[in-house]
Symmetry: C2
């Protein structure tokens, strides 16, 4: 049932050689003591845990799925999930990047991020349970009252309790302004919440003693729309003052969804029948508080896409080396065998390299963004913090949408490497494709991400954040533009940078007249900027690889080949994207809805 080996060498390359994480962390007082050894050691341990504990229950978890017992209001996770979670908690993994004040280990997010890549490679459905807890932790840390923090954070940090985000209702997902769940204030300062939520990942399960639901609902005096939404902390069991669990709160699972993939994760319809909750972040400020959670979740979804890309690649590679079929068009390569291994065929290599490039490009990009979050949170200089925050804001929708779109492409190509076996469940590949598909949808569809990038992060900002990031790209181009060996990468990077600048201005002008122009351009625009970001990181990686390609370490030879493939075969998508982004809204909007 396949394999997963954490890509430690490439993670270390990104951390130490590309991003100089150790040096960057030295500037953050909180993380100044982190050195490369600590990073490598944690990554190594993470690799063992994910390969040995999470990966072996990934396929079986998909086949078995979750089971809902209506009578007893319980959801049972697949065999082994609970035990793996116990090991995860006992090893202290949930606390990795949490603050020491509440029991955390205080390590930087950039390390936690790489661990999440591994967990998602090994088992996305399982990883969603602790992943949502971490989002709840971040939301509560920023917006909770001191009392809420003292009661709930230690439990989330230790992993004893897990968290959820209860946003969606059957009639509203993207448009949360329409939500109907109600919160009635009680004399003790708490609220009784009534309503029905859908698509609640990890809403009910048997892996932890308690579940902290973060629930969006309306107060009686709430204004209409998205400005009338408040956020509530609604525990499954009400904690007693002594920390033990008290009464069962009436927030229960009505059903779990049958879905395309991530079968190991329980997707619950949750019913609240006067469940007791406590407000977080103040009345009508729920969306603001929830956005902390959402932003963390969007980065997390990007890591899901990255994890699946990596594991699909690893397995397709094993198959392509092992499976013999047909002879190479350019002459027999394995004369001792009845046919050549299929990795000799150019198009099989195209499929493999597509996944390899998207994995390595995504890894560099995500690690960079995680490091910017560490700087945003912990750099002593406010200007640096602001700059990092701006970059994170700009890049988050790209992490979410570009990486998950690429994961859909990459997992499908890896499945295709297997031929007919790719379609058969026991080979494990088709699960990656099914699992990858949700990442393009949840936490804001990829269309929503594109609108967020183009509308909110670029146009409403007059392009300031984009220009700041562009200046970094430009600086790299100028520093290396005269290096002949790099020109094969620098020239197309500079060309793409110019085109993105011009295109942004053009769309900005057009959408000033007609907002639908932004809506028509947003999706190709996001992919275009995604390629600019990847080309920038790949060019930097090429620089390092060129310097070290004769070092005897073949890692750099492989890296350089991947970069060259990216520029030759994936970057050309930009020629299409520019045309699509410039095509305007008229051909989309012309037709009356009745004539479709």
């Amino acid at each position: 049932m396949g394999q997963y080996v954490a890509p430690l060498r490439d993670m270390q390359f990104v951390m130490h050689e590309l991003l100089h994480v150790e040096d960057e962390l030295k500037q953050l007082p909180k993380h100044a003591e982190i050195d490369a050894d600590i990073i490598n050691q944690i990554l190594e341990e993470g690799g063992k845990f994910t390969s040995q504990v999470l990966f072996p229950i990934n396929h079986s978890g998909d086949r078995e799925g979750c089971h809902h017992d209506k009578e007893h209001n319980t959801v049972t996770t697949p065999k082994g999930f609970k035990e793996a979670y116990k090991q995860y908690v006992e090893a202290g993994w949930p606390a990795l990047s949490c603050v020491p004040e509440f029991g955390g280990q205080g390590l930087p997010l950039v390390m936690n991020n790489s661990f999440y890549e591994m967990m998602n490679s090994a088992n996305q459905a399982w990883t969603m349970y602790p992943g949502l807890s971490h989002g709840a932790y971040e939301c509560l840390l920023e917006h909770g009252t001191p009392e809420q923090k003292s009661v709930y954070l230690p439990k989330l940090v230790s992993g004893e309790w897990t968290g959820t985000m209860c946003l969606t209702e059957s009639h509203c997902g993207t448009d949360l302004g329409m939500l109907r769940s109600k919160a009635e204030p009680q004399s003790d300062g708490s609220y009784l919440i009534t309503g029905s939520k859908i698509f609640i990942s990890a809403g009910e399960h048997d892996m932890a003693d308690n579940i902290l639901h973060l629930v969006l609902a309306r107060l009686p005096d709430a204004p209409q729309g998205s400005k009338g939404i408040s956020l509530f902390l609604v525990p499954k069991f009400l904690p007693n003052a002594d920390g033990t669990l008290g009464a069962r709160n009436p927030i229960t699972c009505g059903a779990i969804e049958e879905k395309m993939g991530i079968h190991g994760n329980s997707t619950c319809q949750m019913n609240l029948d006067g469940a007791q909750g406590w407000i977080i972040g103040g009345p009508h400020k729920g969306l603001n508080a929830m956005f902390v959670f959402m932003n963390a979740a969007r980065l997390g979804v990007g890591m899901q896409g990255l994890g699946l890309t990596e594991v699909a690649y690893q397995n397709a590679l094993v198959y392509a080396k092992d499976r013999i079929q047909m002879r190479s068009l350019s002459g027999i390569k394995a004369p001792d065998k009845a046919a050549d291994p299929i990795i000799v065929h150019p198009d099989v290599r195209r499929m493999l390299l597509t996944a390899k490039a998207y994995a390595e490009g995504g890894r560099a990009f995500c690690t960079y963004v995680a490091l910017q979050i560490d700087k945003e949170l912990n750099h002593p200089d406010e200007v640096v913090r602001k700059h990092a925050a701006d970059e994170v804001a700009l890049l988050t929708p790209i992490v979410k949408a570009f990486i998950t779109d690429n994961a859909w492409i990459a997992t499908s190509e890896c499945m295709q490497v297997y031929g007919g076996h790719g379609y058969i469940s026991e080979w494990g590949m088709e699960q990656y494709v099914r699992d990858a598909r949700i990442n393009m949808i949840y936490e804001g569809t990829n269309t929503i991400q594109s609108l967020d990038l183009l509308g909110r992060k670029v146009l409403m900002d007059n392009g300031v954040k984009l220009k700041k990031f562009g200046a970094k790209v430009q600086a790299f181009i100028e520093q290396n533009g005269t290096d002949e060996a790099l020109s094969e990468f620098i020239t197309p990077l500079a060309d793409l940078g110019d085109k993105v600048t011009k295109l942004t201005m053009e769309i900005g002008m057009k959408s000033f007249q007609n907002q639908d122009e932004a809506g028509a351009a947003a999706v190709p625009y996001l992919r275009l900027v995604g390629h600019l970001v990847y080309a920038y990181f790949f060019a930097q990686m090429a620089k390092i690889a060129l310097e070290k390609q004769d070092s005897g370490d073949t890692f750099y030879v492989s890296k350089l080949a991947t970069v060259r493939f990216y520029f030759a075969r994936l970057l050309p998508e930009t020629a299409m994207l520019i045309r699509q982004a410039r095509a305007g809204s008229a051909t989309l909007m012309a037709l009356d809805a009745d004539l479709f």
Copy 2:
């Protein structure tokens, strides 16, 4: 659970207005009596049958799947499948385009083809049972002995018995030269066949009394490789002289596969333990005979992709009109509702129009190819037959690969229209995506189709077939090039035609030096030629639509909008494809397999 309504208006447009099928058939003595009324009547009946009988058991068939009873060697199809098949047989549908000599209705393939689109929209998994029978019918009709034909063809034509193609073994799919199943000649002229086959669609089931397996195996004196393969007819039950069923032949289902989709179709491992069979097409000429089946099957797979594209579009459209979420960026469109229907959003329209354009382009293209097959088979003029045969040979890999790739794109976009609901099984969309995925793999992967097109159909032929098709495109361009109203379509069509010509020569020169160049270019090349074909048909459709757009029939307004969308948003893919096809093999082949 969704809907399916046969797109009769568009089918009639393609048949009568675009392709003038009635006039074309008048030139074929066998079909000279077919008029538009007959065509419309059959299409209408087909629409009723598929909507009312096949569609209602599509989703339930997916959820239930097939069940294998090892002890009794039986496979049970999902609830309702057997009954639907009975209705299908009783209505005479299997005989539609079969020759009257063996009980067929003798109607042209072009009509059968449209019926298959409908069947695949309604229920691909179910349609594979009769679809494979039809392939077996065609193979036997061309290569069977008179006795074989008289025994088996009437049963296949009536649908009482079904057929399979038993090619793949666990160690060989694409590379059939490696297959190991053995056929021992017997004194009575029959053979005893022993071996094990995998991925046998409809290999065992409960829908028909008997199954005719067409099995590839080796004779004892067979040369090695693909030149030593023979084809055998191996019935599940040996027919007695009086037509009744005799002994059970030892060809049995060892297991059925768990797979990503098409759960309603039984994908069987078939074991032959000295099963009695009769040779078809002569010793060592099995692949030649099987190619009749394969070509029919490849067109059939294209129709599967088309069918899924259409039904996914129809359902996404219903959802997009019904679901309200957010306000239009350009101003409120439905003030009486709490939000606007999502069809107001540009990107939702992009997703819908992608599916609409791929459905309508694919329909025009497939219908055209099916008509060419009718001409190939039945035109009195040998030159016309040859010309038609050449076109069919050239276009078959494009039908198979381009349409199924597009179906993967389109079904995924339609699923995305649903947001989170798209991922949930009960909404029905995710099934279309899962079902669509197999079509890119079986009957020769899409990479194999691309190599067939570029290698065998274009380069080995010195581009003759491509030039002949190109001359048709060129003639259309010259006839309409001065029409100002058409220039928005003619100009990019002519431009693309020039580029395909140049690119073909360039790849031809490069691959003359190094065959891997063809392998590296094949996949983007096929999609590029696919777009040339679609642009050609869309331009023709635009011409008709422009002439009739003021007729009061809004069909033409819709058609014109679809064509404009295609040229604005889908055709730009060619800018990427040309760059990819020209990128050469070096970036694919540079890396040693050990360094991946």
